[in-house]
Amino acid sequence: MEFLEFFKFGIAQFYQYTGFANVTWGHLIMIAIGIFFIALGIIKEYEPLLLIPIGFGMIVGNIPFIGGLQVGVYESGSVLNYLYFGVIKGVYPPLIFLGIGAMTDFSALISNPKLILIGAAAQFGIFAAYISALLIGFSAMEAGAIGIIGGADGPTAIFLASKLAPGMMGAIAVSAYSYMALVPVIQPPIMRLLTSDRERLIKMRPPRAVSHREKVFFPILGILLTTFLVPSALPLLGMLFFGNLLKESTVTRRLANTANGPLIDIVTILIGLTVGASTQATNFLTTDSVLIFGLGALSFIFATAAGVGFVKFLNLFLKEGNKINPLIGNSGVSAVPDAARVSLVEGLKYDKKNYLLMHAMGPNVAGVIGSAVAAGILLGFLY
């Protein structure tokens, strides 16, 4: 009899430690969202490299447990907490930028420099969201962190959120990556709304060949100009241009291959998983998160509209033959290369021979620089 009592007690004790005893509706909702993200990544192939780690991370982060076991991402000393350190301290984003730099070809930008201005115009989305967030009642620091979602650049969003609003980082990162994945869904209606049939048929001149010398000088010029103006963007832009120099110098191929291959893959896995795991239901399922998602969508819409609108404005001053197809305006948001791919797909819908991909890559990579500069400005003003 005593044994039976002890057995029942043991089972009851064990049950208290299981996820079943600690589960809440919040956990289940977040796990469902995680599975949805994984499904989006696998079935629809929307940014699978990001959505699958984030989605799985959401499941990992929402397995219910009793506190104190050192397993949760927010528990000091847990393995996930150590990995999350790279997110909190902004270590991962610059490393990702190193890899992006090492895999980005800036030729499209160098050959047609005016496209760089589209990348600047599209950053308006960041500030539209910033203003909206202030109007809703967020503090300036929170508004700045939310606004950066409009930069459509996950690492930049994480970097800025870790400094300005660490408590909101999970929601901001997930929102940024979700909308980046949904670029093919969000952008086309805005592009169609703002352009006429005639404008969509504009054929742009093929880009000229860019010399090796120009490609080598670009990262050096780029870092000097941008970081002298906005030193707070140094971690991101420094690594971006350094990675690009590794690639373009052609004498450091092994380093470039590591940066744009194994290194960026490892960091993407870590950042995706830990950001996903940071969305614990208790922290994530709040009204603020809903507002952040709403403002994120708004910022993407404004960014796309500003990019397309700016191309139309530029075209007023350009001669026939030099005009820019406004369908590449959406690429000013970073989201490399998805936004450029949207330009290509939309362009081909109206003219089967109008390949806009190379042209769209110009504003697309300019968007990366622009969003990092914008993040640097926000950091300079608000941190």
């Binding site: 930008l109 420099p113 600047a120 620091m141 100009l225 092994r254 620089i369 500069v373």
Partner: protein, 324 residues
Amino acid sequence: MKINYKYFIFLFSLLIPLSVGAQSQSDLRINELMINNVDNLVDEYGKNVPWVEIFNTSYNSVNIEECYLTNDTTGFAAGDPSRWYRIPKGDPKTLIPTRGFLVFYLDNLPTYGVFHTNFDPSDSTSSNYIALISSSGKTIIDFFEFPPSLRTATHSYGYKKDYGLDSVEIAGVLVKNKDTLDYFTPGAQNYPIDEATKSELVQAQDQYGIILTIISMTVVFSALFIIYVLLKLSARLNLLVPVWIKKYQDKKQGISSEVAMKKVIDPTKADSGEELAAIGMAIHLHFNKNHDYESEIITIETPKVHASPWAQKQLIHRRIPRRK
């Protein structure tokens, strides 16, 4: 003249040590001093003794061990550090954290512990300064002069808003930074009043974010516009530089400039790259077709079997350039 770059690299490497030293003991400053300590800070032994506060101005932790503190003028002039108080090595508390503070008791009782010096500035015959000297004993890191009246005053003396600017704004008024202090703050910042943060000030000035938006968009556009202008210029230079090089080479060889100019390829007729891509693709297709039938064929395909660079000596060693 043939330039030997090795000498340049050697000379440059000599300059590097000059820049080293940032984020080190040289970032330490004497920030606050109190001599007439009647009922202020109490040391570990329950005594009110004069104290000095050291401030780490850098954004890195700095260890103050083996540095010297002194109010002795003759010692430095004679280069004799034996009379100064040398901060003992090995105490973990001598590591001053980023923008952190450390207090030393100036009680002429060094046997009381690491943070008790061998001099007491309350003696009116002693000098009116305290110096912090580097561990080498050769460089004065900070020289802190104080008014003699501090020996009888019931306040501390130092920097109103910690070491930095000569004058600072307090309650909207610009005041001298190094002065009599209104607060006693040993081991803490000298201006303990909670001020609005940078972001709060921005929000107060710009409630709806319009000004920040205008400024930020202007900066983003300016940054990218400058890149745009330079890329335009570099494109022009890229076309002109080969012409200049050719001209220079021809001039060296004694070819007249007119003849040389004829030889230069017209930059406006430079290939766009499309022709080259088409030729490349044609060659690729042509060779691919025969790829299965011919051995040692030239191909632009990457090898199917990737050898590990770790296993191939020629890939992990830089080739030695051949002297021609």
